[in-house]
């Protein structure tokens, strides 16, 4: 049952999106999200949606996987819709009953907010987690944030912590599975009883799990020290990230598209102007 969790799942592949420099993916994702929140009208969203569909197609991950990624945030989308529909003031009232009033502003706001969140999630999935291995991702993060070292932010250490955390997610899931099987063999029952009984039934899993996590952490720390690990200073990398010609092309194309989207947002007159 725990094997079904697809936290930050990575689909190995050989597409152009997979081959992009991870730093570029990171930067473009941030720019894309910024553009999403700067735009309002339909035209910029057609442009932004269009380029994302192109990216998904190029990544060859498959649209099914991408929509599957939206499932966990369905509740968030529903709540966003409700809040925006009921709590936006101004505009024309299109429905009114007792204390509930729905305005056209509210409906527009709700629609665009949901669209924004959906596009944001799809963009981060296709560009980042689905097509970039966790190690590449943290490497990229470290590289992009490295200017912060000047103001004494421990960028390398933070990236290393992230790498280790990501690396141990599958290990700990496997361990949990094993401990659950072992306790089930001794007659532990996780599936029946009320809330309190079920919570109590978790103790035989959580305690061994914590103990083994601490043990692993200690072993890993020792192993790293034995190999003279001492942080970022003067450390070279196995995989050196390099901007290829392809990456420059992608960078300019995406900058152009994003600029076009934002520009169309300011000039477009048939779009609905919202606050």
């Amino acid at each position: 049952m725990l094997k079904d969790i697809t936290l930050g799942q990575f689909f190995p592949g050989n597409s152009i999106i997979h081959k992009m420099d991870p730093r570029l993916k990171l930067v473009i994702t941030v720019l894309y999200i910024t553009a999403l929140f700067m735009c309002h009208g339909p035209v910029p969203y057609i442009i932004l949606g269009g380029i994302l569909i192109l990216a998904v197609a190029l990544s060859k991950v498959g649209f099914r996987q991408v929509t599957r990624g939206l499932k966990p945030i369905l509740i968030l989308l529903v709540i966003t819709t409700l809040f925006n529909v009921f709590y936006t003031n101004g505009g024309q009232v299109i429905f009114s009953w007792k204390f509930i009033t729905i305005t056209d502003y509210g409906v527009y706001n709700a629609f665009y907010m949901v669209l924004r969140i959906a596009l944001l999630i799809i963009a981060t999935f296709t560009l980042l987690t689905y097509t970039t291995s966790p190690i590449m991702l943290t490497d990229a993060l470290e590289s992009v944030l490295s200017p912060l070292k000047k103001i004494k932010v421990p960028v390398h250490e933070l990236a290393m912590m992230m790498t280790i955390a990501l690396r141990f997610i599958p290990t700990l899931l496997e361990e949990t599975d094993k401990i659950m099987s072992a306790q089930k063999s001794r007659g532990a029952d996780f599936e029946s009883g009320g809330l309190i009984r079920r919570a109590k039934a978790l103790i035989p899993i959580l305690i061994p799990l914590f103990i083994s996590a601490f043990r692993r952490a200690e072993e890993l720390a020792t192993a790293m020290e034995c190999r003279c690990y001492n942080g970022g200073e003067g450390r070279t990398k196995l995989r050196v990230m390099k901007f290829a010609m392809r990456d420059y092309v992608i960078l300019f194309v995406s900058l152009a598209v994003l600029a076009l989207a934002i520009y169309s947002d300011y000039t477009c007159t048939f779009g609905v102007i919202l606050p």
Partner: protein, 289 residues
């Protein structure tokens, strides 16, 4: 002897219909006899661990059947739960599954889940602890302050306390020193003798298994490669090596001597048998010269 467990055409596939699909067990059939010590040997990834999790109903077969005392263990929910208690499974490195504040309470976890009376639980805890050579004084200690070997025995006692009719042990001697291995093997043998319980001993180490078991099932790549007594199995040295298994040193030496034309039986698999065979040879040779 009656069959206590029967495995019929068992197949299990992990991650069906995904790119990670992997068949761990394929059309496997064999039986475990009441009261025997059965060795289950196979190279890493041969399907051992998946197989034993079917024997007490932790995993459900994709196809095929596991029968306990002649009845399909997935017949009804209540029976599956009963089988969990009747077929005790000790996982690899069981000491990592200890969680209670005291050794006594940890051993009592299984019997408590069986909803036995206080007195019965107390009696079983003492019995289980003694049967793996744990001193009564250890019972009130925290399991986390014990040595590795002691922790392993506490975990073993935790399963024995359920008094299972079949005790399955996955690599019970892994990571122990020779003395610890010897002790564990002896406790297992004694448990079998005292209670008449059936033991399934899972390992990839021939050395351990050779002296303890009555019968061996060898797995290779999710299938059964051969079944037989240690004598029968260890005389097929070449097949075993091809399956990626090491054979007992004694069997290896016997095999090499036989190849050189020295009349040593290829069915030898313990150091004692080898020593006997060689000394008889020497005694005989002395007379002839």
């Amino acid at each position: 002897m009656d069959n206590i467990i029967e495995v019929l055409n068992l197949t299990h596939t992990y991650g069906a219909d995904t790119p990670f699909e992997h068949t761990a067990i394929e059309d496997m059939s064999f039986e475990i006899k009441q009261g025997e010590i059965l060795g289950l040997i196979g190279h890493t990834g041969s399907g051992k661990s998946t197989l034993i999790q079917h024997l007490n109903g932790l995993l459900k077969p994709d196809s095929g059947m596991v029968k306990f005392c002649g009845r399909d263990i997935w017949d009804d929910k209540q029976f599956t739960r009963e089988v969990r208690f009747s077929v005790g499974l000790v996982f690899q490195y069981p000491e990592y599954q200890l969680f209670e504040e005291t050794v006594e309470r940890d051993i009592a976890f299984g019997p408590t889940n069986m909803k036995l009376s206080e007195d019965e639980i107390r009696e079983r805890v003492l019995y289980a602890a003694r049967s793996v050579g744990l001193d009564d004084s250890i019972l009130l200690k925290s399991p986390f302050e014990l040595s590795g070997g002691q922790k392993r025995r506490v975990a073993l006692a935790g399963v024995i306390a359920m008094k299972p009719k079949v005790l399955i042990l996955d690599e019970p001697t892994a990571g122990l020193d020779p003395e610890g291995r010897e002790e564990i093997l002896n406790y297992i043998k004694n448990y079998n003798k005292e209670t008449g319980a059936t033991i399934v001993f899972v390992t990839h180490s021939m050395e351990d298994i050779a002296r303890v078991v009555d019968r061996i099932v060898v797995l290779e790549k999710s299938k059964i490669l051969m079944t037989g007594t240690p004598k029968e199995v260890f005389s097929r040295t070449e097949d075993l090596i091809r399956a990626g298994l090491t054979i007992p040193v004694a069997a290896e030496i016997a095999g090499k001597l036989a190849k050189k034309g020295i009349p040593v039986s290829p069915a030898i698999y313990t150091i004692e048998q080898l020593a006997d065979a060689i000394s008889t040879l020497y005694a005989g040779g002395g007379k002839n010269a």
